[in-house]
Structures are given as structure tokens and as C-alpha cells.
């Protein structure tokens, strides 16, 4: 499993990108088609893995609208995909914070039986996504990680971006990417050990 850079790194991709940027600024239908075709899957994937639920379509739409509105400010210093990942990660961070706040408020006001019911509902909702048991455990383990760790696992191990790109997206030093990624993987492996043993029995 080697590092595979997503398309857009080569010169041809870059030239096509300028056309895409110009087109999206002007609202050209072809450019909008291309933007959706090229980046919708990646943005959706990252949102689903970061938030741990498939119900993210509104969020994805908000991200793309944000991208469109900010195209004027897009300098072209980075590639569209790096920039898009950055907006996506930030948007998911905000959303997680919002959800935590909302959960905290709703827990304050509910009787305990209902809280347990909610927890059970959530578990079954997230399990709907799983194909088999191991997937479920991995999914749960990833969800239990701190979001700064989860971001790195998603960007590196699932999206297969380079340390350099991740540093750019998360706006942290490359060395910090390296050390934090290590911690994230250790934490995930620690959580998975329990599941892995149960799985092999």
C-alpha cells in the first residue's frame, strides 16, 4: 500500500483546474457538472467517515455552497482538492461541536430511560451502515477516537494523502502530522485489539 496522490497533481490537471475555477466563478453549467462529478464522492466519503453517519447530504451541500462562494478568494496557491478537503474537515469539526452541544442540552432535559433509548437508537442507526461485524467494530473504534486523531486516520489511511498535503489541510506542522498520526494509529489499534481478539475466536 504505497502513497497514491489523487489526480490533480500533474500539470494537465492543474490547467484543467484553472478552467474549472473560472467556470465555477461564472456559474458555467459545464464547470459545475465537473465540480460535482470530480469532488462529490470524496467530500461525501470524508464527511461520512468523520461524522460516522451516512446522513450527511445537507452538510455536503453546505460545503459545496461555501466552496462556490469562496471561489473568488481562492488564490490557486493550493490545488482545489486540498482546499476542498480543508473546508470539509473544518465544516465537519464545526458540525461535531454543534452535535456535542445539542446532545449535552438534550441529555440535561431528558429522563434516564430516554437517554438509554437514544443511545440504543444511535447504535442501531450506525450499525445499519456496516457490512459485517469487523466493519462495525472498526467504525465504532474510529468514532471513539478524538476528532483530531480521526481526521488524520481518515486523510492518511482512508484517503491516502501525503503528510505534506495533510499538514496543509489541517494547518499543522508536518512533524506534528507524523507524531499525531502515530498516536492516532496506536489508539485505534488499542481499541481494535479487544475486537480483533473477539473476531478471531
Amino acid at each position: 500500500m504505497r502513497t497514491t496522490e489523487p489526480t490533480g497533481g500533474d500539470l494537465r490537471g492543474r490547467l484543467a483546474e484553472t478552467e474549472l475555477i473560472e467556470g465555477c466563478r461564472a456559474g458555467d453549467p459545464e464547470a459545475l457538472d465537473e465540480l460535482v462529478k470530480r469532488y462529490h464522492p470524496a467530500v461525501l466519503r470524508v464527511c461520512v467517515s468523520l461524522l460516522g453517519s451516512r446522513d450527511v447530504e445537507d452538510l455536503v451541500q453546505d460545503i459545496f455552497i461555501k466552496v462556490l462562494r469562496r471561489f473568488d478568494k481562492f488564490q490557486g496557491r493550493s490545488l482545489i482538492f486540498t482546499w476542498l478537503y480543508e473546508i470539509t474537515v473544518n465544516h465537519c469539526r464545526d458540525e461535531l461541536r454543534r452535535r456535542q452541544r445539542r446532545r449535552w442540552f438534550s441529555l440535561q432535559n431528558l429522563p434516564t430511560e430516554t437517554v438509554e433509548q437514544i443511545a440504543a437508537d444511535e447504535a442501531s442507526a450506525s450499525e445499519r451502515l456496516e457490512i459485517d461485524e469487523l466493519h462495525g467494530h472498526l467504525h465504532q473504534a474510529l468514532n471513539q477516537l478524538e476528532s483530531k486523531y480521526r481526521e488524520l486516520i481518515v486523510l492518511r489511511d482512508l484517503e491516502e494523502l501525503s503528510y505534506e498535503k495533510i499538514a496543509e489541510i489541517c494547518r499543522i506542522d508536518e512533524k506534528l502530522v507524523k507524531s499525531r498520526l502515530y498516536q492516532a494509529r496506536q489508539a485505534l489499534a488499542g481499541k481494535m485489539k479487544k475486537y480483533a481478539e473477539a473476531f478471531h475466536e
Binding site: D33, L44, F64, L129, E130, L158, L181, Y182
Partner: protein, 163 residues
């Protein structure tokens, strides 16, 4: 010499991960590759990690937008450009115009009503200033009978002047 011994020692997890990520420098990469070729236990550790993530990756990449989601997103993006067709400067200007035009029209309406009430007596005053001639009486009539009367007076006075 000491370096080869270090390489011969097992790689720590952090180094293995960086090898796995392809983020070691060229010299380290070769050293790691050489070590892995010889060391079954490190190879097993790498393979175990790769298995774990390949399962996660498969699930991650199985998430794809549905056609309906794609169409919906595409439509939402297009809608972002609909209000842009009318320059926002104009939109704002017309909004501002409406905002002060409505009270202005109301004030003008009130003024019109007030002035019309006052205009009626003003006209009467003007007429009353005229010398009282049979012609001026025509302006003061309000009923048909008075009109007929005034016309008769006017006609008879003209006859008098002709004679």
C-alpha cells in the same frame, strides 16, 4: 557498523508506519526494505496493520453519492447563480427606493386630501373677488335652476348693451 546493528534490531512501530506510508527518505526506505525481507516478525506486524486498514478502506470507498444526491447537489449549486442575474447593486437600490417611497406616497396622499379641502373655499374666495357681472354669476351656480337663471340674466344684459 553500529548503524547496521540498529537496522538489524526490530523497527519500532512508528518507523514501520512511515515505511508503510512511503514517507521515509531513500536511505531509510532501503534499510527498512532490507530488514523486512529478513525479519518475519516485522513483516507480520506490517501485514496485520495493512489488513486492518484495507478493511476500513473498502468500507470508506464503498460510500458513493447516489444519482438523486448528485442531481440535488447540482441543482443547489445552480441556484446559487439565479439571484446573481440581477446585479445586487440594483436589487439593493430598488429595495431602498421602495422603503422610502411607501411613506412618501402616504404623505403625498394626506397632503392632497388636505389641500383639496382647502382648495374649495379658496376658489370661492377668488370668485367673490370678481366684480358682480351676469357672467361671473355663471361660476357660482350649483343647481340647474340657478344655471338657467344666470344664463337668462346674461342674455338679457347682453340685449341691453346692444340696444
Amino acid at each position: 557498523m553500529s548503524e547496521t546493528q540498529k537496522v538489524e534490531r526490530h523497527f519500532d512501530d512508528e518507523m514501520l508506519w512511515q515505511w508503510h506510508d512511503g514517507e521515509l527518505n531513500e536511505r531509510e526506505m532501503t534499510a527498512a526494505q532490507n530488514h523486512l525481507n529478513r525479519c518475519a516478525s516485522c513483516r507480520q506486524r506490517v501485514e496485520a496493520m495493512e489488513r486492518l486498514f484495507s478493511v476500513m478502506q473498502k468500507r470508506h470507498h464503498s460510500v458513493q453519492p447516489t444519482l438523486a444526491e448528485q442531481i440535488q447537489l447540482r441543482r443547489a449549486l445552480e441556484q446559487q447563480f439565479v439571484p446573481e442575474e440581477m446585479p445586487s447593486v440594483l436589487v439593493n437600490a430598488s429595495r431602498r427606493l421602495v422603503r422610502w417611497l411607501a411613506p412618501a406616497v402616504a404623505v403625498l396622499g394626506i397632503l392632497f386630501v388636505l389641500l383639496r379641502d382647502e382648495a374649495a373655499p379658496a376658489a370661492e374666495t377668488l370668485v367673490s373677488l370678481l366684480p358682480e357681472t351676469p357672467e361671473s354669476n355663471l361660476l357660482l351656480v350649483t343647481t340647474d335652476d340657478e344655471l338657467e337663471q344666470a344664463m337668462w340674466e346674461m342674455a338679457s344684459s347682453r340685449d341691453e348693451t346692444q340696444e
